[in-house]
């Protein structure tokens, strides 16, 4: 099955675009995060990855439920050569939306995780470098689960779990999209 590139059209996102206000709970914009992850990149090209039913099933079999079928992926390029990929996502912690971005290197492993906005009353600590550093170097071969290779933050189990689940999902989706040749 081929991955369809909806090259020009944009998935009509009904709600929150990544906030760019510099208020309290909004720490970074997606663009800022992408630049942080790939400072050498001179261009970011967006690919709209749309998964079909079979691929979603494949993800399920891997143990990663593919929540959505559409993923915009920013491909970081320098002089035409791909450096890596940046994906932004939002998950619900306990009741509030957590926006985050993840940079994935050419080896398929996580290069960097940034929290873009956080509104829960507990668990601000997921923003700390110490917690996000746990993900660096982990990829499709890793377990990437709370209570396994990722430590929890006491009192913020749901936030940590959902972000970890999201990262595991994105790693799998990017791997899948690359195998299908959609991110060249």
């Amino acid at each position: 099955m081929r991955v369809v590139l909806a090259a020009s059209a944009i998935v009509a996102a009904a709600s929150a675009a990544v906030p760019t206000r510099a208020f309290a709970v909004d720490y970074l914009s997606a663009e800022q995060a992408a630049k942080l992850m790939f400072p050498d990149a001179d261009a970011f090209e967006t690919r709209q990855v749309a998964l079909d039913a079979a691929q979603l099933q494949q993800l399920d079999a891997q143990g990663t439920r593919g929540r959505s079928a559409n993923w915009p992926v920013r491909v970081a390029k320098r002089g035409g050569a791909t450096l890596g990929f940046v994906v932004t996502d939002g998950v619900i912690g306990k009741v509030e939306l957590i926006d985050y971005a993840v940079g994935i290197g050419l080896d398929g492993n996580i290069k960097q995780v940034e929290i873009l906005s956080y509104r829960e009353s507990h668990g601000f600590e997921i923003r700390l470098p110490a917690w996000r550093k746990q993900f660096v170097g982990k990829g499709n071969a890793s377990t990437l689960r709370i209570g396994d290779d990722i430590a929890n933050i006491s009192g913020a189990t749901l936030s940590c779990t959902h972000v970890t689940d999201g990262l595991r999902r994105i790693v799998a989706v990017v791997a899948l999209a690359r195998r299908a040749g959609a991110l060249a």
């Binding site: 309290a24 619900i92 009741v95 926006d99 430590a151």
Partner: protein, 447 residues
């Protein structure tokens, strides 16, 4: 605006060729140059038309694109560059049910079964808690959080249940670091009080240190500042209502079961002449580690008697979750001042006001087995607590004896089903009161 470079698919050539084939019959007779030019113009116009239609079709198709069409779609180069802001996929549905743009319903429930092993005629099953709450977000800085609880299923004059407002506060994120909270909120004490959903603790029943010594679910009304720092430190402090020692009933055993729970006010027509202050520090700088402590102190006679007395409670707690392990420990101690004067009129009664009470536990759990969204975590907890550790001297023959510390060992397991449901089973053994030894089963959910 960044340009998006699109690869031109091989479609264009294919289309031109197929058009040519389709119309070749029309060209068959005329061969003059003028005629050729006219035909070329016509072709170009038709091609442009088809491209425009294709663009429209593509845009319609691009929406919930799941199935793969047989032919890849083309890219109209001349079309205006589409907007760049690549929005993320639609946000997930809320884990609670979304009641409005910023309103979320929350809930948790606990159903417990207890079977004393030496007195199984006292086996009970109970909807221990049924809690409904909502959070409404007014804007990105401001929200209100409420929680309503029903204990023991049926509440009426003849039934054992109770309905209570457990939380009702507003919170405002004033600066990136500081937030202000006002209303009825949970006290930041111990590990369990603020995080008391059944999915958040091991064992069917909440541990004794955090029910008999720290009166979970302990809430007071007042104002609180909360600061979250980049080094992982969380600071909380504020002024709230306190306890009412006039509620102490020396003739019942309530005060012996939990001193503070028998005099808490729960902001229900609470006497508020004497307010209390509290502070809490929690450090989560290292992932998987929590170290923290708290202090609460306030007068508690509420100007109903000429005696003054101060209730103080402090705690130290730690939690460490390396890999699949989950270790936690809490020590808490409470003191009440001037109890000699308060107890003078109560001498001879079975339950006088203690001068001090404390408790300590250590607990270890291990995620033994997990598969997809199932997880089995056995645990062991050892706790020791004394709700009447010391009494002020009232004179020979009148001073009650300090109680013997109770020691409880709990062994069991939590079985997690999906994110928010937990099944629990455990066995508890009491050193002092062996008649309380019991086997427990529990079902809980939280969202």
């Amino acid at each position: 605006m960044r340009l998006i470079r699109h690869r031109s698919p091989p479609m264009k050539a294919l289309l031109a060729a197929s058009l040519a084939l389709a119309t070749s019959g029309v060209f068959a007779q005329t061969a003059t140059e003028a005629e050729l030019a006219r035909r070329l113009d016509q072709l170009a116009a038709e091609l442009a038309n088809v491209k425009a239609q294709l663009t429209q079709l593509q845009q319609k198709q691009a929406q919930p694109a799941a199935a793969a069409p047989a032919a890849p779609s083309s890219t109209p180069v001349a079309a205006a560059t589409p907007p760049v802001a690549a929005a993320p996929p639609a946000p997930p549905a809320y884990s609670g049910s979304l009641l409005g743009p910023g309103t979320v319903l929350t809930s948790y429930g606990e159903l417990n079964y207890n079977r004393p092993t030496r007195a199984n005629q006292n086996a009970t099953a109970d909807v221990r808690r049924f809690v409904l709450g909502y959070q409404h977000r007014f804007d990105e800085k401001t929200k209100v959080v409420t929680e309503l609880e029903i204990e023991h299923a049926v509440s009426s004059a003849d039934d054992p249940g109770e309905v209570e407002v457990e939380q009702a506060y507003v919170e405002r994120q004033v600066t990136p670091v500081w937030a202000l909270r006002a209303g009825l909120f949970l006290m930041p004490v111990g590990l369990l009080n603020e995080n008391h959903e059944p999915t958040a603790f091991y064992g069917v029943e909440r541990n004794f240190v955090e029910t008999a010594i720290i009166p979970s679910t302990w809430r007071e009304g007042g104002v609180q500042v909360i600061g979250n720092f980049d080094n992982g430190l969380m600071v909380q402090g504020g002024i709230t209502t306190g306890f009412d020692l006039n509620k102490w009933d020396a003739t019942s055993t309530e005060g012996r079961e939990s001193p503070l729970a028998s005099i808490h006010q729960e902001l229900a027509l609470a006497r508020a002449h004497d307010l209390a202050v509290f502070g809490a520090l929690n450090w989560r700088g290292v992932p998987g580690l929590l170290l923290g402590g708290s202090l609460f102190t306030g007068q508690a006679t509420q100007a109903q008697t000429s005696e003054k007395s101060r209730v103080t409670l402090w705690d130290l707690h730690a939690r460490w979750t390396p890999g699949r392990w989950d270790f936690s420990t809490v020590y808490s101690r409470g003191t009440i001042s001037n109890t000699a004067a308060l107890n003078a009129a109560l001498v001879g009664n079975p339950t006088l006001i203690p001068a001090s009470f404390d408790g300590f536990y250590v607990q270890g759990a291990y995620k033994l087995w997990s598969h997809e969204d199932y997880a089995l975590s056995p645990f062991v907890r050892w706790e020791q607590f004394n709700t009447a550790k010391s009494f002020a001297d009232l004179g020979p023959g009148l001073t009650p004896d300090a109680a013997r510390a109770e020691r409880v060992v709990t062994v069991g397991a939590n079985f997690q089903v999906s994110q928010g449901i937990v099944l629990k089973a455990d066995y508890q053994r009491f050193r002092e009161n062996a008649d309380l030894n019991r086997f427990n089963l529990g079902l809980g959910w939280s969202f």
